[in-house]
Every structure is written in C-alpha cells, then in structure tokens.
Symmetry: D2
C-alpha cells in the first residue's frame, strides 16, 4: 500500500493543532504517505478558520460523519478524555485506523472497552495507537536504545517527576483540565500518565504495587471566562469547585526488582514542563529533563572512576533516532517534533501491517496505575 | 495588499529545505500571506523530488526564469555565497523582493553592488533582507528587548564565540564550505558572520577597529565524493588544498566604548553549534548558548547582592517574542523556528511597506568586518 | 565565660577527623574559644598517630576517662551509632556539653533516653546538640533564611533525595555502615536522616504521616578486610549477609499541608553526594544540590513571568551566612566548612547560655521518622 | 631532612591569612613537616591579633628580621607586588627558601632580578617557587594529567577568561589593587596572570606572539577609606585617578600551532570568580569554570559520536590529585585547599632536593606576556 492515507483530526485546540502540523511535517521530512483531509470540531466557524490556516479541505462538526466517510482512512482523536471512548470505538468499528491522544480514557472501564474494540479491529487489519508522544522525543528514544543495549544493566531505581506551575496562581480559572468530568483526573492523568508511560517504555519494567497520595491545594477557583492558549485562560468573577488533584506522588516496586518513585504536580513554581527521569542501573545511569529536551545525560559505570562522569549527550547526531531527517548536530529540535515522529511511526506500522506502539493495551495499563494512585490514599495497592 | 505572495526558493539543500519549511509554517502559525510556488535547482531530478516532498508546484533549473516570471513576487536565495550577487541583483532589478542567505556575498565589492541594487529597488518599493536567522531565535530576540529597555545599562563587554567541530576530523572531505571560490572564507564567513551580526543586533554598537588572527589547522583533505547531509559528507581517495580558514579570533573596540572579543572555529571538539554570547553592562549581564537555545541567562545588577544570581529564563512564555504563536511554557522550540519567524517578519514588512531588517547594508557591514579580520594578521585595522 | 573550652573528640576516623579540623578552623576564622585537647580511640597507636598529626596533646582509649576528667568541658561524639547512647549520656551526666554525630541513636528507645538525659542536663546548664552539619552549609542556611523571610510563601512541595553510589558495586565489602548492629539502618539512617533533618530545618513543617518502602538490592557481600578511607574499603574472600537497607523512598503529608517526597540510596550510579532538595511554595521555589554546594537556585514567583527564571545564587557573598569569615565572592567553600560553622555555633550557644540547635529532641524526631519508614512497608504510618 | 621547617609569612591580609591556614592544614592532612613560626606585618597590633588567632608564636614588623633569623627556614611572601623583589631577593640571599605570591613582580626588570637571585640561590640548594595556586586545584591538576596522557591530542584552541565584577560599581574605591605603583597593573596582572600561567601549565605551549587591548572603563574613583575584606572596601568623598586597566583581551599563537584567546576583567557583572578555560585538541576537549571548582568537563573525541558528550567529572575521587587526603567522593573542596596543596608540594620538593614548580622563571615568563599585552595596543608583539 503506497497510496496516501487521508486523516481526519478530531479537535483543533492545542493537541489538534500540533497533530495537524505533525502530519504535514511528516510528509515533508519523512515522506510519510498521509495527509490531513478533514478536521472535526463542534464550532464550525472556529474549525473552518483552523482548516483555512492549515490547508485542510474538509470541515465536519460531527465525528460520526468522518467515520461514515469511505475516503477517511485514519481518525486522529485530539479531544478531551471524556469523548475518547465513543469516537475511538466508533472509528475502529468503521474500519478506520485510530491514533488516540492520552490518557486513553477517563476510567479503567472505558479504557478496557477501547482495548476490546482495538483487539477486534486488529483482527481485521485495523491499527490503533495511543498518543504518548514523548516516547518519540529523540533523547528519550535514544535512552530506550541504551537501556535495550544493556548499557544501564539491571535497573534498580526509576525516579520520575513531571513538574509544571501553570495553575499555581489560585486565580487561574476552572479550565476543562480541572474538571473531573471532562479530564478524569488532574495532574495525575494529564502529566502523571506521561511519566508512567515513559518509565514503562524506557525500562520494560511493570509496577507490581504502589502506595501514594494525591492533593488539591486550591479547592475553589474562578469559573472559566475564556481560553487564551494551550494552557492559558481567563477567569470570571464566579467561583466553582476544583474536582481533580493538583498533585500526586507515589512509590512502588517493579516486577524486576526496581524501586520506583513518581510525582506529578502543577504547583512546582518555576518549573514549566520539567519531565525529569533518572534511571540507575548496575552498569550505568540515565538522566533527562524535558526543559533541556535535546540533551541526555548518561553515566557509564564500566568506565574508570577517575575519568568518569555524567556525559551530556546532545541528541542531535544523525545516528540518533529521527534526527537524520532534520538538521545538523547541535541544531536542536522542539516539542512538536515528537508528534511528527509519532504519526510517521504510526503510518509506517500501518503500511507494514504491524501493530504500532504504544497500543491501547499500553494505555489501559497506564490507566490502571492512575486508578491505583487515586485509590491508594497512603495504602498499598497491588497491581 | 492582502493577497498571497508567491515565493521562488533558489536551492533545496540544507538552507533551501529549512526556508521552504519555514514558509509553510509561517502561513499556518502566523497567518503569513505567502507560499512557496517555485523551487530553483540546477539538477532537475533532485529539485523535482524536493518539490514533490514539500508540495511545491513549479520546478525551475535557471533562476532567470523565476526572475522573468510575473507570478513570482519574492526570490529567496539559498545558494552558496558565490551566486548571491548575480541572483539577488537580477531579482531586485526585476522587481522581486529578495531574502538572501548570509553571508551577503563573498567579497566587500560584491556586497557593495548588492547594497546599491537594494537601494535602487527600495526606491521602487521593492524590499530586501539578509538572512541572519538567529536574530529571530526567541531567546536572542528577547535579549535584544532587554538591552533596548536599558536593563543591561552601558555595555562594557561583548564576548561572542561560535564553536563547531564538524571538520575536526582531518579526513572530513573538501565540501564547498571549505572552498574559497564558493564560500568566500571558512569558519569566519560561515559562522563568524553570525556572531558579528548578533553582536551588532543585540548591542547597537559598531566595531571601530579590530586586530585578529585566522588559522587553517588541516591544510590538505580528501576531495569530496558525496554530500550526505547539511554538514556531513564522504571523501574520495584523492587530496586537495583547503583554501579557507578553520578558525578565526579577534578583539576590537566599539563606538560606544565596549571591549569586544570574537572567535569562530570548526575545531572545537565536542561543541556542535555553540553560539555563545555574553554581554556585561553597567546594570546587568546576559548570556546565551545556542546549544540551550530556549534559555537566556540574565543577571540584574540592580538587585540586592545577597539574593542575586544569573537567572535561567526559559524563553517559552507567551510574552516572549514569537512564542505566543506556538506552544505552552516549557515546550521548547527548535532551530528551524527562527526561519519561520524570519519569513514572517519579512512578509510583514513587505505588506506594511516598511524595510525589513537586517538590510543588505547590514550584510555589507558584516562583510567589511570579515574582510578586516582576514587582512589583520595581528595588526590593527580601523573600520 | 570567655575562657577556652577543652574538647574531647571520641573517634578519629572520617567524622573524628573532620570535627577535629573544624574545631581548629573555628578558632582561627571565627575566634571560637575552644580547642581539642583529647582524642579518644580504642586503638592507642592509631589514636596517637592522629593526635600527633592534628596537634592534640592527650590520647585516651576509654571515653570514661574523658568524662571523668575535670579539664574536659565538651565531649564530641564521632563514633558509630551504637555507642552514642552510652557516651553521650555518660558525658551529660558528668556535666560535659555534648555534640553528638547523627543519627542520634540506632533506635527510638535509645534516642528517647538521650533526650531525657539532655533535658536533665539542660536544667544544670549543660548543653547538647546533634550533628546535622549540612544545616550549616551556607547555601542551606541561606535557604532557611529565605523561607523564614516568607520569600517562598506557603510551602506545597518538599522534594528531597540523597543519592550516593559507593556500594553499587556488589563486591564492595561489609563495612560497619552495612551492619544493622553498628549502624542501626543503611541508607535510611545514614543519609536519609540528613534529608529528614534538612526538610524540617528548612521548612519548619512536621510530617504527620508517611508511607514508603525500603530495599536491599545486594543481599550478600564480601566480609571487610580493611578500611581504606571515609567511605572506601577492601573485602575478603568470605561472604556475609547485608543486614541494612540499600535504599528507601517515602511520601508523606505535613502539618501545614505540604506533600513531601523523600528518597535515600547508595545505588544511584554516578551520583556521589547528591543531596537534592527542592521546595515549591506559593511565592517561590528553592533548589539545591550538594554536588554544587556553593549554589542555591531561587525562583521568585512575584517577579514578572517574562523575565523570570531560577537564579543561580553563588552563596559566597559576605552577606551570606558564615561567609564573611572566609574568602571573597566566587571563592567557594568545601564540605568541611559546615563542621567549622557547627562547632562555632555550638560554642556560641554555650557561651551565651542558649540551647544550640538541632537539639537531641530534634534528633529523636528524625529517629521516629526513620522508624516509621522502616516499619511502613507500603502502609500508612501516622506520626 | 625530616625536621620541621619554620616558616615566616610576610603579610596577614587576604593572602597571608589563606597561606597561614594552608600551612596548618598541610601539616594535618598531608603530614607536611613545616609550621608557621613568624608573621611579618608593618602594623604590630594587627599582626599580633592575627598571630593570636592563628597560633603563631612570633610577630615581626620588618621582613629583614625574619631574613636575619637563623631559625627561619622559609619565607612566604604575601605582600603587594611592589615589595616582592626586595623581600624575595633578601630572603634568597640569606639562604631562605622562598614562596612568593603572584605576580612575581610589577615589571619584567624586577622579575628578571628575582630569577637571577633564584638561580644563584639554587646553586646553594635554596628553593624558590611562585604562588600560582590555581595549578593545585584538583580539577586543574587532573586536567593537566589528561593533557600529559595525550587524551586531548594536539591542542588547537586555548580559550581562557577570568571574569570578576567586584569593581563594576563606579563608587568602589581606590584600593591598592587599582594603583599602578603597588599592583603593577589591574585585571591584567592580578587575574590575567593566573590564566596565562594556567594555560602554560595545562598545555605546555608557549605564546610566540600576541595582539591585544586593555581598557579602563571607570577612570576616577573615590579614594580608599577602609579595607573591609579580601576584595571589599569603603570609599571616602575625595576622588583619585585609576592608574591600572579594568580589563584586557588578547589573541596569540603558540609554539605548537594553537590559537589562543584570553580575557581578564573586573567588570563582568554577575561573574564572581569565573576562571574559565577550554582546550580543544585533536582527540578531545576540556572545560573548567572555577565557579564550579570541583568539576572538570572532558570530551573524548575517540568515543562513538552517538553516545558522546562532555562528561562532568566530579574531581572528588581518591584517584584525583590531592583528593585522597581529604573527603569521600562528592564531598567537595574549597578555594583554599589549593594553598594547602601548594605549600605541601613546595616542602615536598625542598625535602627531596628538587626544584618546585612553578619557578621564578615561570613567573618571569608570565610577566613578559603581561608586558606584551600592556604595550600591544592592537599591534602584534613577538615574544
């Protein structure tokens, strides 16, 4: 199959926008045989403006129309979490390949239904993937390669935090991400989900149990007046309840004997998008911070102590994952490149008849951990 | 004028590719009314392959055809330096707006002719700009704003180095950038030009004289067999002479009393694209390293010493130049974003009937300094 | 009281050595009216060699002789944890001021007895202090000052790890620090105790409950042949059981509403003495890493976002705690300076008739938390 | 010779104080057979107070008395530069070993006389050394070892700056370091001398010529009222002329083909003691910043590019120079430790009958370069 796949993107806000740009860049820089032909949005005017700017020929206001259209081959779900289950299952049943933003769903039950639909579709050659895009950041993809090559040895410590501060101001309003109905959970599902997935992806370890806490520091906030950007908004004078966590922290054990610690918060003042992951193994260590996303720190414990130290690898060499398609060494990539890599890999798997990763089952596994953290309240939860 | 400008890009290698991507992104993220309609390349097959990947409808093998085409409004010159003078002047005389990659030309004489042509064209409302793209890196654009706001005070020190290592291996072959005929000079013109322009842009100071040295560490290299990337290539078994500098270093004084030091090299092993600029003024300091391009370090000398220190500003806030069009705080941008900003600003000036910056005259000023460094050989050269 | 205090130091290994040097430096740089007049060690020959090198006039092989000597005013306990209770109580009862290395004791019960003795002695004007020396690292002492001044606001997150790797090699032998009898616990009591104390010191918050895990990665090791340095040793061919933890991690809540996470490990390959503490409050954040002990990172959330960022404060200004006694700005201090500051502050309190801090009661509070972590095993423990 | 050497220290300000502390620490931590028995200061009261605090038995107000005293074996010259020539030559002629602070003298002529005296004394077994203490910072001593082992290969670039800011405030008064008569030159001789010596020490290269500039940004300042610390002072209401440079910058070539750049300034606002040295060779690079004095960055160009990067070596391992005498890995050292190492190495050479390094001839070589920079004014000076 070398024909171009037609993609319908559901949603045109932060995620829809970055996915759409990613599809176009993938075609140019990776020769990915796919293009965005439809955008789906409930507000036709806004969706049309987006379609005009991004060169998308068709605008739909109901995802069912995309699913019913035989010219659509792929549905890319970029809507809030509460609508994932409906759109993704509808699309899969109609034989569309589905890329679904994370977290897969707002509950374990919904995620399980999506996995079932994905399994059924798979039997018919229909592919599905959950959008944990950070896996495709070159530095993290390269970290995974080092782990797989045994350079870290047996992993003893997984240490992952995701720190942001965009709601640290108590006057920041009640956007959908602070509403349990729409978002499922707060920092836990929004950003904690990423570090759970990354830890699994990088190490291949599976949490066997955990104990942890969640906290909501600011319990009432101004209601939303207007969304002004991906993570920015204006509030009204009325107040409402925050129904999700502001932060969560947990420790656990893995099936291969590692001790793992996690923390996700939107109250780490001064930290903007600090996904910090450190792995300590018997042969080496790796450390990463998304605020310096083009760097990976690697300590090779097999080297002589006298000349040893963490090396700051600029992950911009042509030998690094995805980088050869872009710029010379030292000419860094940005946040959105991972989305280009993601859709490229997704299409690559579709074309090759392989299952792309991370699968909906991987998304469900993350959901189970989120669920365990929410219910733990300081007690042990076996997974 | 709100119609879309048609752009012909001359060249489809490293620079042509990144410019073309920049034009497309500018339309999407900034609403820039322009699109690439023509690509010009001497090898039709390669140019056609590029046009297919990047969605460019027309392929030309002679820049004269673009200049003669009334449907072309802008010529974007991304060829090696020896052809700039011919193409740019031809395009300007034909009434096309011209964006020309740096360095403006391979000699002061050629650059002067281009400035003359630009001045003549300007009288007819035809705009021109030289492509010192790094000015549009958000951290550097923000640095400029801080200087303009007086936050640094009177500048005493300008300290700029541009460090790369892509030819440190003596077996790296004789690519066009190592050939004086094609490139004009070596590290000096290729990367030294950038730090000269950035120092001028950031400070508004003008060098009044300088003294410096150039050096060629590896004097013979394998001839080129094949170009494999923006800055990578394979060599043959035959050898040839290196006719450009490998490195240059100079110190100078400015019209406003600063002491300035500069160094450009392709032999700083381990440094990939380290554009490091530090300014020290009477009220503060700024420090930047392109290898961490989303960060700017700022020291505000007016704060109490006890709690003072360089702050690492993540230049990813919506208030920072260009950033509001992209992603939330902490979600970094990459190397190529500056090109998107560059073409956006260029078109913005054309539409508004203003002269864009940096002008060809700015490019000539850089060329004069490159010339002075080349001829200094340790003696004082008054500018 | 302006006469010089005579100090008997019990122990001459790593801690005894650094304390003894600290007493001499305090006299020189702070004018502290005290000098080490006795060293106590079971091996007379080794103790004598140490006394000769460090200029100590008297050598004793039994601490009881120091306690009985009316010329001794202070006993500085630098022996392994299992002997603290006996020596400290003996000294306090004999009317000697006592500085006791951390952890205070190897059990809550022993620590409680020491607190009782300290309380009783206090009534007679005899002072006691536990040696959490890191409190006197200038950067941490300054961090405390910023918290006290309200610069961080209400603290929401306490994030503390202490990472070392000196036993990551499974062939590293069974030194006393790996023996439960002598050391009480492993990484938990040795280094975890420090971050517990520092978190308390810096924030003034008290943990109200916690849940956590401990782990021993390497369960059998070569028996000790020879100690070769503060944390280095050679093993024999025989093996024995490791009876302490290699690592511990826990999360908790504080009495003032913060979420706190802690981790202590000796298996973080590549991390040598990484005490990393970050506090996030409503008005600012602080971050510290002992591997860069002369720096403190401070984010002031009250500043405009556009120019904001963590500032790297070089804590070497004369206005910083303890620094005026030493060198000019930028001329960093080392690990041992905190011990000089510690004994200086201790004597200062004795002379002034004040109780020095941290008290034995503070040491007991740390011990209670260590105990809770050891018994938690993933369940909630209320403190 | 195993008897203890008696040392007379001339001067008790910043340098005298740190030398005296260094002598005591050397005895304790390195078993160095030497002790400070005399301090020399023109103000008897101040000198006596210093002697009391530091435990020095004898106070002299004239250096001639020390030179005449048969019980003095070593004279350690810590006075301003203008008195070095007289004291050092006097001491050498009297058969005293001499350690002389840098810069050796305030002129090439004076330095030459000192070298002659040192040569004459050497024939009689009397040793001399100039106090470029930074050579004994473990990270720099280790850098030297890596260069000597060939790990950097042929050195192409030497890049050295020494940045301070303690006189950036135009109201800072005219201390002796700003007076040409006492100090010889400004930033150039005070701190530029250090980076000249370090570059020579680390690389073994010799500058064959240079071109450079000096600058005095603030030409008049308040006269000195009171010295308040090593580099701090209070001014009066009267003004006087600054007679030395505030900053200097130069570029040169070395006898082994490297391009070298240097800059020394006291106007780099926010930089407190930033001695930054980077070497780029054919096989690797080294980078150092004194503000992070326990770290050395090393890039090994012989490693595969994909996993390569500058490694941050914490120079705190027992295998590193001088470190075994101190603390475990990660427990950093401070500024003054280099002085302990310096006097230790000095005595070690005396005891062994070897010439210590750096010699007075090395000091003269530095003086010649300082002289060349001062006279260059943008013209080439052959060395």
């Amino acid at each position: 199959m070398t024909d171009t796949l037609n993609v319908a993107v559901a949603g045109y806000a932060f995620m829809g926008r970055i996915h759409t740009a990613g599809w176009a860049q993938a075609a140019k820089f990776f020769g990915t045989p796919a293009k965005v032909t439809h955008v789906i949005g409930r507000n036709r005017e806004n969706a049309q403006a987006f379609a005009d700017a991004f060169g998308i020929p068709n605008v739909l206001t109901d995802w069912r129309d995309a699913v019913a259209d035989p010219d659509v081959h792929v549905v890319d779900v970029c809507t809030p979490g509460d609508s994932h289950v409906e759109i993704a299952i509808g699309a899969l049943e109609a034989g569309k390949h589905v890329l679904c933003e994370k977290p897969l769903a707002n509950s374990v039950q919904a995620a399980q239904r999506m996995v079932d639909a994905a399994e059924a579709a798979r039997a018919r050659g229909v592919r599905s993937m959950v959008g944990f895009s950070y896996r495709r950041t070159p530095a993290l993809a390269y970290a995974k390669r080092l782990v797989d090559e045994g350079r870290i040895g047996d992993i003893r410590h997984i240490r992952a935090v995701y720190l942001q501060d965009w709601i640290a101001d108590p006057d920041f309003p009640l956007v959908w991400r602070l509403d349990k109905g729409a978002a499922g959970s707060g920092a836990l599902g929004d950003i904690g989900a990423h570090i759970i997935d990354l830890a699994t992806f990088l190490t291949g370890h599976r949490l066997t149990g955990l104990t942890g806490l969640t906290e909501t520091f600011v319990k009432r906030r101004p209601k939303l007046a207007e969304t002004t950007g991906g993570l920015s908004a204006k509030g009204s004078t009325e107040y409402g309840d925050v129904t999700v966590d502001d932060a969560a922290a947990w420790v656990g054990r893995t099936d291969k004997g590692a001790l793992a610690t996690f923390e996700a918060t939107r109250f780490a003042v001064g930290r903007k998008n600090a996904i910090r992951i450190e792995l300590n193994g018997s042969k080496g260590s790796l450390a990463f911070d998304f605020e310096r996303m083009n760097e990976l720190e690697f300590f090779d414990f097999t080297q002589p102590a006298v000349e040893n130290g963490f090396r700051r690898i600029l992950v911009t060499e042509p030998e690094h994952p995805y980088v050869a398609a872009w710029w010379p060494p030292g000419h860094g990539l940005g946040y959105e490149h991972a989305f280009t890599h993601e859709v490229h890999d997704f299409v690559d798997a579709i074309v090759a008849g392989r299952d792309p990763e991370p699968s909906f089952a991987d998304g469900l596994a993350v959901q189970r951990i989120l669920d365990a953290v929410e219910t733990s309240n300081g007690s042990w939860v076996t997974l």
